[in-house]
Structure formats: C-alpha cells, structure tokens
C-alpha cells in the first residue's frame, strides 16, 4: 500500500519538477511545482465536448487508460515488501495493461476520423511496438537472474544476486529512463511542446479530447512517470536497507529522475521522424547487452 501511495505522491510532483527544471535550464523562473496539478484539477472541473463523428470508444478511452495504469500500479512493490497484488508472471500483466491503455487511446484517435490523429496513432503504434521488446528483455533478464517471475519476488531477490548487480541495475535504470521517455511521449521521440501537427505523435492523438477527458489523460501520463520511478527505485535500492533510507532514496531517485528528464528535454532536440525506429532499436540493444552481462554473471558463458 505504501508503494501505491508513493507512486501517486511522486506523480503529483513529477510534471512540475520537469517543468521547473526546464525553465531554470532556459533561464526563466518558471511555474510553481504544483502548477501542472492545478491545471489537471482545473480540467477535471470542466465538462467534455465530443465531436459528432466519435462513438463510445472515444468516450471511454481516457477512463480506461487511467484505470489500466491504476491497476498496473498494484503489482509494483516497494522496499522489498509485497505488492498489493502479486502472482507469477505479473510483469507480463503489467506490460500489457499499459499496452491496453495505449491501444484504447490509439483506437480512440482513429475513432475521431481525423487524418492527423490517424497519423499520430500510426506513429504511436510503431514506437510502442519497438519499445516493448526492450521492456521484456529487461524483465526477462531479471526473472532469469532471480529465478522468480513476479515483481515482488524479483525485486526481493534482485539486489542480492551477484557482485555485479549494481552494474546491471545501473544499465537497466538507464533503460527504464529511456523507456519511460518513450512511453510518456517525451523527447527525443516526441516533443510534448510542439505546435505543428505534422511533427506530433502523442499530442496529435489527443487533439479532440477536452476538459475532463484531457485532465484524465494528463493524470495518466504523470502516473506513468510515478510508476517508472518506482520501478527504478526497486532496481537500485537494496531491499535490505532500513525503511527510512528506502523512503529517502525513493525521494532522491524520483526527484533525480524528473530532473534528468527535464535536463534531457532542455538540451536535446527531437529526433527526425525517420530516425526514431533506429533510436528505439538502441533500447533493445541495451537490453540485449544486459542479457549478455547477466549470462556472464550467472556463469552460463565464460
């Protein structure tokens, strides 16, 4: 339960810290940390406007997306404790719940009948397709190293296996940051601040959403950041540490993650569309490198 609340707490501040980092990096004072949350609250108070071409899919998609992330959060443990739900193979459940949410958003974008949104949905599908193997290679490696197949058991055992699991943890933490950037449609794959529909990916898919629905979509995306920071914290913090340190380091990791995202977004440009598949392949490459490191550590080779 603590983990669940911590994810929500992290999600609460995450977009604000990113925005603040970006504004400081570009020499501005920037909005307050909780400004994005206020924006979401403002949106949630409004009603939604629906186009007459849309069907029920368009109306349920944002809600289902949020529900998927809220459910996926249930399987993530904290501090070597038990997650709210834990069963064998729950990381597959986690990955496909996120995928289900994305799938609903994609068909909702197609549902509007707008060619722009179709284009965005098309791109989102391609990127999701390419980033999925990276996540699965990573989780597969961790399952192989620990011999467990649920998040709770994997993270209980992960940090104690081998002397080099810090190396592997660091490698995978990098991978989690990169995957989170793609999952949340941030730079360099997608630019959330772009104003040109032709260069948008995620933003163009939600052009027709307004008011309450848009608020839910923003909420979902900040929760996803919270989920990934919790995953990263689980990889990097040894479960044997005292609970106080665990909280402290989770805070450090979540804030550090947000600052890294903000800095990355400040100092790099969006990829050319044609380069994105290649970029996403590098994520798979990092995952495969992790696999080989794991094989070496387990002395399957060498």
């Amino acid at each position: 339960m603590t983990g669940y609340l911590l994810i929500i707490l992290a999600a609460f501040f995450f977009p604000g810290i990113i925005a603040r980092t970006k504004s400081i990096a570009s020499g501005r004072k920037g909005p307050r940390i909780i400004q994005p949350v206020r924006d979401i609250v403002k949106l949630l108070r409004k009603g939604s406007v629906y186009s007459t071409t849309t069907s029920s899919i368009f109306r349920i998609a944002p809600t289902v997306g949020l529900a998927c992330v809220l459910t996926a959060m249930l399987v993530i443990p904290f501090a070597g404790g038990n997650a709210l739900i834990s069963f064998n193979g729950d990381f597959v459940f986690f990955a496909y719940l996120l995928a289900l949410g994305r799938f609903l958003m994609i068909i909702a974008a197609l549902d509007t009948g707008s060619s722009f949104e179709g284009m965005g949905a098309n791109r989102e599908t391609l990127y999701a397709l390419l980033v999925e193997p990276a996540l699965f290679v990573m989780m597969g490696v961790m399952a192989m190293m620990t011999g467990c197949t649920s998040f709770t058991e994997i993270f209980k055992a992960f940090n104690t296996v081998g002397d080099y699991s810090l190396l592997l943890g660091a490698l995978f933490a990098c991978l989690v940051i990169l995957i989170a950037m793609v999952e949340n449609s941030r730079l360099p794959v997608d630019d959330p601040k772009t104003h040109l529909e032709l260069t948008m990916v995620h933003e163009v898919m939600i052009l027709d959403n307004s008011g309450f629905d848009l608020g839910l979509i923003h909420l979902t995306s900040s929760l996803k950041f919270g989920v990934f920071s919790m995953l990263m914290a689980n990889m990097l913090i040894p479960p044997s540490w005292k609970i106080g340190y665990q909280f402290l380091y989770f805070g450090v990791i979540a804030v550090g993650f947000a600052v890294v995202v903000g800095l990355l977004e400040s100092f790099r440009a969006r990829n050319k569309m044609g380069k994105n598949p290649q970029y996403l392949l590098t994520l798979i490459a990092i995952g495969l490198l992790g696999l080989i490191v794991a094989l070496i550590l387990m002395q399957k080779i060498a």
């Binding site: 290649q278 798979i284 495969l288 490198l289 080779i301």
Partner: protein, 210 residues
C-alpha cells in the same frame, strides 16, 4: 571492474555502428583506446614481464588513445566534411547487423572449447572484429573504412588479451605498422588526392582512369 569496462566497450561498438559524424568516430576510437588501456593494464599488471607491460601501455594509451585520434582529427579538418552522409544501408539495419553479430559472437565464443582462454575477452574480441567488418561493409566513405579497421584491430588486441598474459609482440607490431601505414595513406588521400576528389567516396575510385 573488468566487466564494466567490457560492457562500456560493447556500448562503444554499438554506438560506432550508428554514428554519423566524424567527431563521434574520433571520440569513440579514443575512448576505445582508453578502455583497452585499463583492461590491458589490469590484466597484465599481475605478470612480471615488465617489457610487455610497457609495450602495452605505450601501444594502447599513446598510440590508440592519443596518436591515431589526433592524426585522424587533422585529416578530418583537412577534408572539411563533418558528416558521413553516404551509407550503403540505413543505420537501423547496420545496428541490426551489429546486434546479430553480438549474438553470433556470443554463441561462437561459447562454443569454442579451447583451454586457457578467457571467454569474455574472446566474445568481445569477436564482436569487435565483426563490428569492424560491418563498418567497412556498410559505409561508402573512406574515413569510416579506416575506423572500421581500427575497431578490427582493437578486436585483435582483445584476442591477444584472451590468451592470457602472453603478449604476441610480433602480431601486435605487425598490425600497428599496417594501421600506421593506413593512416598515412589516408593522410595522403586527404591532402593530395583530396584536392582532385573533394569528397573521398570510395565509389568514385571505380570511375578512375589512367
């Protein structure tokens, strides 16, 4: 520690296969030199053969990490081209090829049943050699070809680490000489022939006449 260096070496190999700028190639080649230095140093410092240790330090740190990158940088400055824009295949496929090469080298390295060989070095060496070959195959410009040979040579150096602390002097000296010659030839290419052919694209060589 060695494993971390080897992982970093693997990352440079993947990066080099999708790099597009000459400056990136230079940085990566220099980084590989430094990594090899640390690796060779930690492998050979146990051996009491001082001569081979000095040779390795001189070769990796001075030659691989400083001399060759500096020479290459001068050539790049003379060529006045910053980007490798002529690739025979898109970067996506060259990265895919490198990933396949990584898989093949792991399988090959694991299959070889030779005593007294450190498999991790063997695998990395094979991976570097394959990556060098892929670099040569997938580029049209002469500069990445040379970088490919440098990577290949780093792979061969790794092989020599794999067989333990016995440094095959002669092999290394031979390769060094070859590389030195190739860098010199490239220098000639850039400074002399380059005036005629502005952009050293190897495809232009096929149209040369007496």
């Amino acid at each position: 520690m060695n494993l971390a260096i080897i992982v970093l070496f693997g990352v440079t190999l993947m990066y080099i296969s999708i790099a597009e700028r000459f400056a990136t190639y230079l940085k990566l080649v220099a980084l590989q030199g430094v990594l090899l230095f640390f690796l060779a140093f930690s492998e050979l410092s146990g051996a009491n053969d001082l001569a081979s240790l000095i040779f390795v330090v001189a070769e990796t740190l001075i030659f691989k990490a400083i001399a060759v990158p500096v020479l290459l940088r001068n050539i790049v400055k003379k060529m006045k081209v910053a980007k490798v824009h002529a690739k025979a295949v898109p970067a996506f496929y060259s990265l895919l090829l490198v990933l396949v090469a990584m898989g093949v080298s792991v399988v090959l390295g694991d299959m070889l049943k030779i005593g007294n060989i450190e498999k991790i070095f063997m695998i990395t060496a094979l991976f570097a050699v394959f990556t060098g070959l892929i670099l040569v195959i997938t580029h049209k410009k002469i500069f990445p070809h040379l970088v490919g040979f440098l990577v290949l040579e780093n792979g061969v150096f790794m092989f020599s680490l794999a067989v333990g602390s016995e440094m095959p002097f002669l092999v290394n000296v031979g390769i060094l000489l070859d590389l030195f010659a190739s860098v010199l030839i490239l220098g000639v290419f850039a400074s002399r022939i380059g005036k005629r052919l502005n952009d050293p694209d190897v495809e232009d060589l096929s149209s040369l006449k007496d």
